[in-house]
Symmetry: C2
Subunit: 159 residues, 2 copies
């Protein structure tokens, strides 16, 4: 079975499918409101990428390019991708969908930073990500992991 990663369009169908994902939050609610109030157009590009099985969205992630001036993770500071809300619906897990999405994110050739749930740490490490040295001032409640196309060079923190 072949499947492709697609950039998701903002429309009522996509936003309805998002409700099936555990990490449905303020971001999705805000997109829905913007659509209802015509602040954003129907079918405009979203920061989400996903995989469809037939016409059902079964996996997704959000991806956003951040400027080097916000980079607190890589040495030297550089433009990087922030990846969040990587999630595969329960009945579609362990079939390679998550891996496919992360490989897609890597294909942009930029360093990536994500925040993992502890249970998924093993998955991220298999994907070549590395846990950073925890810094409370910077990381607070996060569990940050980073990946770099040329191998990770982690930024030193002050603490």
């Amino acid at each position: 079975m072949s499947y492709n990663v697609e950039r998701l369009k903002v429309n009522y169908k996509t936003l309805e499918e998002f409700k099936k994902f555990k990490e449905y939050g303020v971001q999705e609610l805000s997109m829905l409101e913007d659509l209802q109030e015509n602040i954003i157009e129907d079918n405009c590009d979203s920061p989400f990428y996903g995989i469809y099985f037939g016409d059902k969205l079964v996996a997704r992630m959000s991806l956003y390019e951040r400027n080097a001036k916000y980079d607190l993770y890589f040495d030297p500071p550089q433009n990087f991708l922030e990846l969040w809300k990587l999630e595969v619906l329960p009945e579609y897990q362990f079939k390679g969908y998550g891996k496919k999405l992360v490989e897609f994110a890597k294909s942009f050739g930029a360093p990536i930073k994500t925040n993992s749930r502890m249970k998924s740490k093993e998955f991220w490490e298999k994907m070549g990500f590395q846990t950073v040295t925890y810094d409370m001032e910077r990381d607070l409640g996060q569990n940050p992991l980073i990946w770099h196309p040329d191998g990770v060079k982690e930024q030193k923190t002050n603490s």
Copy 2:
């Protein structure tokens, strides 16, 4: 039954109790390593506060004062408390422990910012917290909620 909020000490007993909480992560692992390598002292203060039932830790939160220069939420920018990992063990939920911890955080008299799980939104709203207007550049995968002792004045974002 009376119970008190205590500032938690970093020691092997506390760190063992932390393992029972779902949001055990890099922060706790890092504290454990620092203790093992004598980088931090046994029984020094941690950023965690908790409630004991007998000698068992049943609820906790992390609390950290951030400088106004990091404030992207309140208007005008000001020193505020970041609250994370508020969690009550399953068999002790719905007994007021979470409320007690949040009231303790409020007692410092500073504005508070937290990041909620969507399912806990109702709890936070009951505690007087308000969902911020989502801004992707700032909030990424977070669901931020804020509280201010004098009523919230939310910082305007650029987007």
